[in-house]
């Protein structure tokens, strides 16, 4: 179908203020990719509505004219979910940035979708509350995007992902109808469409107001850092700590490759260079409880074979221990200019075996792989390092990436823990699910969006995007790969800019 984009622009201008319609080629360039820069496609038209009514009017227009659309938050997504690969109207929520209601008595807050994740906590921190899901891009990423991707974060081990924290949503359906899913309470006597909408990657509609659960900030936080001479020992420490009933807020592991990259970046030996793994454990809660938990966790790390253990409880000392982890991707980025990140998940007990297998694959493909991961929940982020100017390297990188995902699935895991399927991993979704599984999921799509206009082509494998024989490797061969910050970062307030410097979007 050919879409008359000039006519669409005129119609959009009739519905929205002039500044809310972007049609100039040089401005559209800013929307040609999200955080996954491997894929690029410039959309024909972008609108930036400010209200629910405007979103509804635009979607009614799309519905009437059969025009596909896709919603975009801050553009930090890592699965190409906001990529306008087929001609589609991009609806950016970056001007929907109001906090609509703060209800501390019921520990909830209602925000527009463009509100930045970190702003939610900032709005209530003075009263001792916070919003728990904390993707590493939280100074830039939007709540609407978090809802679309069901984003996690370092602390989701203890506190859960986005879906555990959304109470109610106002949603504009693909035909322009506005409805409410859920209520201000945790349970509502209705089908849990709120639950199925979260993580649907923009394929079911656009959330225009989101009510979130707030948590009380813990009284005390402590960080423990232990280093091990074997990855298995670090894995064993994670197992012992979990089994002891200590539920850390987060547990992160860095491998030897990453440790050395970080030490190189810092120009000093922040971590022992010969360590096979560094384990970071963050514990939070009542002060006395945290003290006891640090004691227990430290003892269990020693039992598992930790060489040295460092502890920190003051904010500054904690930041110091976290610094290496937070800089890990920047450090790795200094070794080669480009890398490709995966988001596989494995059962916790399979971690050591899968890591060993990744190392073996890395040797076979002659591509270095750095491993930094959420050890508590088995979510791996292997980084495949390469030089884009090396002939044929992209294919090799993607083959390796696919083999790593294969390993995760064979171990009983998943192809994505928090980044989403998007356009990046849709050709692997049928590795996890049988045709009947996918057909059943599509029933949901057909009920929400019978015309198939919302973010078309994402999540589900299609013959067009994943041609039967070629699909295991193809996908994205033509494009230059690089890692850069999302463009919307520029829109973020000046005071965020410093933290952006060390931003690690994973």
């Amino acid at each position: 179908m050919t879409i008359d984009w000039a006519a669409m622009e005129r119609h959009c201008r009739a519905l929205l203020p002039a500044r809310a319609v972007v049609a100039a080629a040089q401005e559209l360039l800013a929307y040609d990719c999200d955080g996954l820069t491997l894929h690029r496609a410039q959309p024909p038209l972008v609108v930036l509505p400010e209200t629910t009514e405007q979103v509804a009017a635009i979607l009614r227009l799309c519905h009437r004219r059969g025009v596909p659309f896709l919603a975009r938050g801050s553009g930090t997504g890592l699965s190409g979910g906001a990529l306008a690969e087929t001609e589609a109207l991009v609806i950016a929520t970056s001007r929907m940035r109001s906090i609509l209601d703060v209800d501390l008595a019921n520990r909830r807050i209602t925000v527009q979708p463009g509100v930045i994740n970190g702003w939610v906590t900032r709005a209530v921190a003075g009263d001792g509350f916070y919003y728990a899901p904390d993707p590493s891009s939280q100074v830039v990423c939007s709540i609407g995007g978090n809802v679309a991707e069901n984003s996690g974060g370092v602390h989701c081990l203890k506190y859960g992902v986005t879906s555990n924290h959304v109470l109610e949503m106002e949603v504009v359906l693909p035909d322009g109808t506005v409805t409410t899913l859920g209520s201000g309470l945790a349970e509502t006597p209705e089908l849990d469409l709120r639950g199925v909408f979260i993580g649907s990657e923009g394929t079911l509609g656009i959330a225009t107001a989101i009510t979130l659960r707030l948590l009380r900030a813990p009284q005390s936080v402590a960080v423990l850092l232990a280093d091990f001479t074997a990855m298995e020992a670090a894995g064993e420490a994670v197992r012992l700590v979990t089994a002891a009933g200590v539920l850390p807020a987060g547990m992160e592991i860095m491998d030897n490759f990453t440790i050395n990259a970080v030490d190189d970046l810092f120009g000093r030996d922040e971590y022992p260079r010969d360590a096979a793994a560094v384990l970071l454990i963050e514990l939070d809660g009542q002060e006395r409880e945290v003290t006891a938990a640090v004691e227990i966790a430290g003892e269990l790390c020693r039992q598992a074979g930790a060489r040295t253990i460092r502890r920190a409880s003051s904010e500054a000392d904690r930041a110091l221990l976290w610094k290496g982890r937070k800089s890990a991707f920047a450090a790795v980025g200094r070794i080669t200019p480009t890398y490709y990140v995966q988001d596989g998940v494995v059962p916790r007990s399979a971690l050591p075996g899968v890591l060993a297998a990744i190392e073996e694959l890395s040797r076979r493909y002659e591509l270095p792989v750095a491993n930094v991961f959420h050890a508590g929940d088995g979510n791996l982020h292997p980084l495949i390092l390469y030089r884009a100017d090396e002939p044929g390297v992209i294919e090799r990188v993607q083959e390796l990436g696919a083999e790593i995902l294969r390993l995760c699935i064979d171990a009983g895991g998943s192809i994505t823990g928090e980044h989403g399927v998007g356009s990046d991993k849709r050709c692997y979704l049928d590795w996890m699910f049988a045709p009947d599984d996918l057909a059943t999921m599509r029933l949901v799509r057909e009920a929400f969006d019978p015309a198939g206009l919302a973010n078309p082509g994402k999540i589900f494998p299609t013959p067009r995007s994943c041609g039967e024989s070629a699909r295991r490797q193809v996908a994205h061969r033509h494009i230059k790969v690089e890692h850069h910050l999302p463009k919307e970062a520029a829109e973020v307030e000046q005071r965020d800019v410093e933290s952006l410097a060390s931003l690690d979007v994973f």
Binding site: L185, G199, Q286, T416
Partner: protein, 404 residues
Amino acid sequence: MRPEPSELQELVRDLHRQGSAWLPAGLGSRLDWGPPVQASCTVLSCAALRGVREFNPGDFTITVAAGTPLVEVQQTLGHHGQWLSVDAPWGDADGAAAGSIGGLVARGLAGGYRQRYLGVRDQLIGLELMRADGVTARAGGKVVKNVAGYDLMRLFTGSWGSLGLITELTLRTLPQPPLRRSVCFQGEAGDLASLSRWLLGSSLSPERIDWWNGSLAAAAGLAPEPLLLIGLASVDASTLEEQVRCLQERSSLQARVLDASTTATWLALARGGAVTPSTAATAPAWLLRLGVSPDRLETLMQAPALAGLAVDMAAGSGLGLAWTGPEGPHQAAVTSGQVMALRSLCTELGGHLTVLRQPRRAGLPAWLDAPSRPLIEAIKRRFDPSGQLAPGRLPGVAQSVSTL
């Protein structure tokens, strides 16, 4: 009907060919909860789908057949120092009416443990289901973090059998808290409200904060005054002591520290004790699910519309249950009019009321229309185009009284 696993699919396909109505069920212990279904409906129990399919303690996840009793799952986990952090369903949960894990998920009603561990929907990481047309499908997986594909686990939690039969579930498990302690306070609603407000705004993280009304307290052999039951858990004994002290200092009310066995007895009582949850003459005439904005709980608990009901509410979520004794001469006290008034009050207080059980001729819709009713009906049409499953029972769609 109680098909064996090998017969299930063929049976469902037969029912589909005939266009027969059927009700997906677990062990059938709470069949008459919620909206009444068409009398001619075949009940298809998954009681024969039983047992743990996969459990590796180191992964803190368990895969079970949907007909496995919750108590059995808890026992298996208990041997490894783990548990499923959910409350048993209301009514004789340890006895003859022990419900299945599939039933618990299909109703999706969480109890007081929600305070620390979230709800039933939040424990579920994978699902296998059978559709009305006999097609088997899976969603989610066996890992605790997974965003691949649509979240059908949540769609099916609280779907009351309207979309398909749940055949297998994978859930996250937790290590059992090494130490637990409960404290209770009795007194005026205002004093309990202020203690609960403070506690919810504090950095303490109790497992539960249950608010009972006077009738329920009386059933526990206590003075018929409202009561706050606070469950604490920790890895450290001195932390527990400090938290108990902290609570004592906060309130002018007398604190009573409960031992483990008293706590267990009381919690069982608040889940209906040995009362049969449905069908039998001894089942409660009224069993209601209540929800209000947590900050309006004090108003609810003092409402005249609660007269004659035992009430157990979770202070943090504003969700809970209210019930009466069995239908009979002494139960004239609670009328449909009173429950309708209570429903209006709950709505006014930012929540809702679901009628789980009611006297035969009361005729109240179990739930009211949700704002998203057209979308809910669209989902139903896609999953069950012939309207075979649990006819008349679709959460978020009120039944018209004439169909009752």
